[in-house]
Amino acid sequence: MNPSVDALRATFGTAIGRALESCGDTIVYVGRDALRDVMAWLRDTPEHTYDYLVDVTAVEYRDRERPLEVVYGLRSLARRADLRVKVELEPQGDLTVDSVVPLWRGADWLEREVYDMFGITFRGHPDLRRILMWETYAEGFPLRKDFPLRGRFSRAEQVRQALAAHPEAHYSMEELSIAEAYEELPADMKERLRRGERGTVPEPE
C-alpha cells in the first residue's frame, strides 16, 4: 500500500474514502468536494510530489448500482511512485467535479474527452467543449451505458447532420494555427471565426 494514503487520511480525515491495492497500484477514493485540495496537496507536499498527471478518464460499470468513477492517474517523476485517485459520482445525480487544469495544464484535453464521452462537467475548466465528436453532436454521450451502440438517430439523420457540419468549424483559431494569417483568410471563413460560430445544433426531422 502506498504510504501517501495514510498521509492523506491524517491530513484530510473523512474526505478520504476506502483505499485498495490492485496489480501493485494503490487506488484511493476521494470525496468529490475535497478533490481539488487533495490533488493540490499531493502535487505540492515535498514528500509526495505527484508532479505528473498521467491520465484522466472515467468508468461506468455494467452494474447499474455502482456509481460512475472519474479516475486520475498520478505519478511522481522524482520518486518513481504511482497513485490512482478515484472520485465516485451517482449516475442519476449531479455529474460535476472540480477541474484539475489549474494544477496540471495537461488535463485540458483529457477532461474535454471525459466530458465528450461521459457528460461529466468539470467545474473551472477553461474551454469545456467536445473534442472527439463534433461540437453540434446532439445524440448524447457515447460511452454511457444507456447510449445505444448505433446512436439515437436514424442513419439517414446522422448522415444529414454530419454533412451539414462545417469542416472548419471543428477547430478554434489556435488549433488551426491561423491566428497570424487571419487577414489573408477568405471573407466567409473570417466572418465565421469572428462570430465564434461553430454551427447550430440541428433539429431531427
Binding site: M133, P148, L149, R155, A156, Q158, R160, A165, E205
Partner: protein, 206 residues
C-alpha cells in the same frame, strides 16, 4: 464530313454507319487517354492506406497502369480512392474533396469499412461512403491486398472505356446534395446502413 454532321442533327436517334465509326474513334481516343492516365487522390484514413501505399510503391507499382502521379490536391485528381473507415466527422470533408475534383471524376471505395462500415457498426462511423459520394468501384477485403486494388483499378479502366461521349446518358453528373443535404433519399440510406452478418444480433435501443 459535313453531310455526316447534318445527318446527326437531323436524324437525332439513329446516326448512320460512317458517323458511328467516327464516334467510336473519338470515344476510343478520349476513353483511352482518360483510363490510361488516371491521377488518384488518396484519402487514406486507416490500415487500407498502408496497402494503398504498397500498391503505389515499387513492388506492385500502379504507375504501370498510368497512375504515375498521385494528386494530393483534389483539384488535379481524376479518381478519389477512399482507403479506410470514414467517421461521421470526416463526412463533410470527403464530400468537399469530391466537390472540388474537376470532371470527369471517379471514386474507388477501398476495403470493407469504406464500402459498408465493416466491423464498425456503431454511432461514429459512416456505413458505406456511397451514402456521401457516388462510388464506381468497390474493392472488398480487410484490407484488400495490392492485387485486389489493382484489379479494382483495372475494372475502373474497363468502365471508363465503356463510356461514350455521344449516348446522352449523363454518366458523371455532379450528383449534388439535395435540399435535405443528402445524396440519397433517407430511406435508401437507412436501408444500405442496415446491419448484416453477426451485428444483426445487436440492437439499436438500450
Amino acid at each position: 464530313m459535313k453531310r455526316v454532321i447534318e445527318t446527326k442533327e437531323t436524324s437525332g436517334q439513329s446516326p448512320n454507319y460512317l458517323l458511328a465509326k467516327v464516334q467510336d474513334l473519338v470515344d476510343w481516343a478520349v476513353n483511352s487517354s482518360r483510363a490510361n492516365s488516371l491521377w488518384p487522390m488518396p484519402f487514406g484514413t486507416a490500415c487500407c492506406a498502408i496497402e494503398f501505399m504498397a500498391t503505389a510503391a515499387s513492388r506492385y507499382d500502379f504507375a504501370r497502369f498510368g497512375m504515375e502521379r498521385q494528386a494530393f490536391s483534389p483539384r488535379q485528381a481524376d479518381v478519389l480512392i477512399c482507403a479506410g473507415r470514414l467517421p461521421f466527422k470526416l463526412a463533410p470533408v470527403i464530400r468537399r474533396i469530391y466537390d472540388q475534383m474537376p470532371q470527369p471524376k471517379w471514386v474507388i471505395s477501398m476495403g470493407a469499412c469504406a464500402s459498408t462500415g465493416g466491423i464498425f457498426d456503431n454511432y461514429a462511423m459512416v456505413q458505406g461512403i456511397d451514402t456521401i459520394v457516388p462510388v464506381d468501384v468497390y474493392v472488398p477485403g480487410c484490407p484488400p491486398r495490392p492485387e485486389g486494388l489493382l484489379y479494382g483499378v483495372l475494372l475502373l479502366h474497363k468502365k471508363i472505356k465503356g463510356e461514350s461521349l455521344f449516348d446522352r446518358v449523363p454518366r458523371r453528373e455532379e450528383q449534388p446534395l439535395d435540399d435535405r443535404g443528402l445524396r440519397l433519399p433517407p430511406g435508401e440510406i437507412d436501408e444500405i446502413s442496415e446491419p448484416f452478418g453477426n451485428s444483426v444480433h445487436q440492437f439499436r435501443s438500450a
